[in-house]
């Protein structure tokens, strides 16, 4: 202490004190300031530029140079970042060839490129943003809420996706995909944006809390152990009937042939 008090009138003391105060303020700001945007915000314009480049090369042949749509593909004005993230990160887009429906396939872009494309398309018009983890996380939901999610799923989704989310057929070669193994984020984005033939389930009508419940219900039924052995796709009587007829009756026919066969004779 004596050292500090004896040096307090030193010519450098004011300057040193100022530096120390700045340092403390900076440290406090760094601790308190929101950190989430700090990584993304400064890059936004760069991201949009990169996204536009990727878009021009990979998407514009069908969706138009400015995403305005052509006879080959719909307009992307107002579809939002969520739609881009869903379509591109599940590999549905870019489409390999025209068909009844864009199938899931290995993705062509990494996370950074998908984010850039999404950021660019989001600038074309207001649309749903990519949901954050708190919207689709199923943590902390009670059993009652998960059961409510089941009710909502059976009312709104089971007509196409089957009541355990195994998917189903649609007219004209289209299909509603199975939801087994689909990430929570993608299920949420699909409800939010209504990809392809799927209707939209907006957050105003089906709030994110209810979407979380639906996702939690799907997670819970897909994690259930299968005590019944082979589920044969869980499609109901069609696959079970085929196996029953082909393998079950086939075995019986085999035994019948063996029973009535004459076997080895003396000559």
């Amino acid at each position: 202490m004596r050292l500090l008090s004896s040096r307090r009138r030193h010519p450098a003391a004011k300057a040193l004190l100022l530096v120390a105060a700045l340092f403390v303020i900076g440290a406090v700001y760094a601790a308190v300031a929101p950190t989430e945007q700090s990584a993304a915000e400064p890059n936004t314009s760069q991201q949009v530029t990169k996204g536009k480049e990727l878009f021009s090369v990979n998407c514009s042949s069908c969706h138009g140079l400015n995403g305005e749509g052509t006879s080959q593909g719909p307009s992307l004005v107002g579809v939002g970042a969520a739609a881009v993230n869903f379509q591109v990160s599940t590999g549905r887009m870019p489409l390999a060839r025209p068909g009844a429906q864009a199938p899931v396939k290995p993705r062509e872009f990494n996370d950074e490129e998908v984010a850039a494309l999404a950021a660019y398309v989001a600038t074309l018009g207001p649309g749903p943003a990519i949901p954050n983890a708190s919207q689709y996380s199923t943590d902390g939901l009670t059993d009652e809420e998960i059961a409510r999610g089941g009710e909502l799923f059976r009312t709104n989704c089971s007509a196409c996706h089957n009541f355990t989310g195994r998917g189903g057929a649609l007219p004209g070669g289209k299909h509603a995909p199975s939801l087994v193994g689909v990430s929570n984020l993608h299920i949420y984005e699909a409800m939010l944006t209504g990809p392809q033939q799927m209707p939209v389930f907006s957050d105003q009508v089906l709030p994110s809390q209810q979407k979380r419940q639906i996702i939690a219900y799907l997670d819970s039924i897909h994690q259930e152990p299968n005590h019944g052995g082979l589920d044969l796709g869980g499609l109901g009587p069609v696959s079970e009937g085929i196996v029953g007829w082909a393998i079950g009756i086939g075995c019986l026919i085999g035994f019948a042939i063996w029973i009535t066969a004459r076997g080895a004779r003396a000559r």
Partner: protein
């Protein structure tokens, strides 16, 4: 007849191959003075196939080998039984077996396999025993005439006549009339019970029950399950909402189920430029938001399989397809009538409400249904 005598000759030769008892039985039968009607065959009767003994009939070593096989299979059955009991007690319930597409409880797989193999072994062993070791000879059993002898018929008729005489009915007719009357009157209680199948669905009854729903003017459209009311600005183009009338919330039990079987709706929003709206339905929609009954007009399945790009609503039961952008007309499938549309409007608080009830009865067809206000398959009013 020359061919038939020839065939019996061929058959006669093979009789030498039969065992003695069989031959005696056949001769006994032939000894009866039964009329023999040999039908004329286009192809001569080849008779009984020549008997060739099995390998196990002539080769003692082969027979012993089969015996060993059968005994081994029978002796493996106790092994599977013991394994079954052991699996029951020793395999923990939460252990699983993963084999290709199979992901199942190890205990259940073990129980099924041990018991199944045990039963299969018993079956295989008995079959092998029967095929290889039990007696092996072809047997002919001739068909006997189906009718009874004439004297038996006569005797039965005599007994019946005697029975009727002894009952006293020919002399005292009142007996049989009163008995028949007593039995006949018991039909009345049964008929009374059958009226519970009714009531007969007359016009008033139909109007009160399955021709009306909970919808009437001013009833708010709410989400199914959550009962949250809906504002038009909540709906995006391409959105589908499974809805019910708000007053459904007040019902419970059977009344709830009755009402919910008729009242559900699908609310869809489409780009107004894509929709064809007839002149008399101009004010049934709000900014491209259209509401239809969710109950298929074919046999009444609930439908919500909607393709937002084609605007087609597909019934999962029999693939009836309705075009919601064109007054719900049938574009495919067995349904005969368009899906009933519910007229809607916005109330003072900005919520979607019904403008009236359904203008036509919802749900499947029935004989007495007045279909004059329905849109038919061709689009004209029928």
């Amino acid at each position: 007849m020359s061919t038939s005598s020839g065939t019996s000759g061929v058959g006669g030769e093979t009789h030498e191959e039969m065992n003695p008892e069989q031959q005696i039985a056949r001769e006994d039968y032939a000894g009866h003075d039964m009329p023999v009607h040999e039908p004329a065959h286009p192809v001569p009767d080849p008779g009984v196939e020549e008997h060739i003994p099995r390998l196990t009939d002539v080769d003692q070593a082969a027979a012993d080998r089969v015996e060993r096989q059968v005994v081994t299979m029978f002796m493996l059955v106790p092994v599977t039984a013991v394994l079954f009991v052991l699996s029951y007690y020793l395999i923990p319930r939460d252990s699983f077996v993963d084999f290709g597409p199979l992901h199942a409880s190890a205990k259940h797989v073990a129980l099924g396999l041990t018991l199944g193999i045990g039963v299969l072994l018993i079956g295989l062993a008995t079959q092998q025993w029967a095929r290889q070791l039990m007696a092996n000879n072809e047997i002919i059993e001739e068909r006997h005439p189906g009718h009874s002898p004439a004297d038996a018929n006569e005797e039965a008729m005599n007994q019946l006549t005697v029975g009727i005489d002894e009952s006293g009915v020919p002399r005292r007719k009142m007996l049989i009339y009163s008995a028949l009357g007593a039995i006949g009157i018991l039909a009345a209680p049964a008929l009374v019970l059958l009226t519970d199948l009714g009531p007969v669905a007359g016009p008033n009854y139909r109007r009160r029950t399955f021709e009306t729903t909970l919808w009437k003017e001013g009833v708010r459209l709410v989400n199914d399950i959550t009962y949250t009311p809906i504002r038009p600005e909540d709906l995006e183009i391409g959105q589908l909402v499974n809805g019910v009338p708000e007053n459904l919330k007040d019902l419970t039990g059977a009344a709830f189920n009755d009402a919910k079987a008729k009242a559900p709706i699908v609310i869809v929003r489409m780009n107004p430029a894509d929709i064809k709206i007839p002149a008399d339905r101009k004010d049934w929609q709000v900014a491209g938001i259209l509401v239809y009954s969710k109950i298929c007009t074919h046999v009444g399945c609930p439908i919500s399989l909607w393709e937002q790009q084609t605007h087609h609503l597909l019934c999962p039961c029999h693939q009836s397809t309705f075009d919601l952008a064109d007054s719900g007309k049938v574009v495919f499938g067995p349904a005969a009538r368009a899906l009933p549309q519910l007229p809607i409007k916005i109330n003072d608080e900005g919520f979607l409400v019904a403008r009236s009830g359904f203008p036509v009865p919802v749900g499947p067809s029935y004989f007495e249904r007045d279909s004059r206000k329905d849109l038919g398959q061709s689009g004209e009013y029928r």
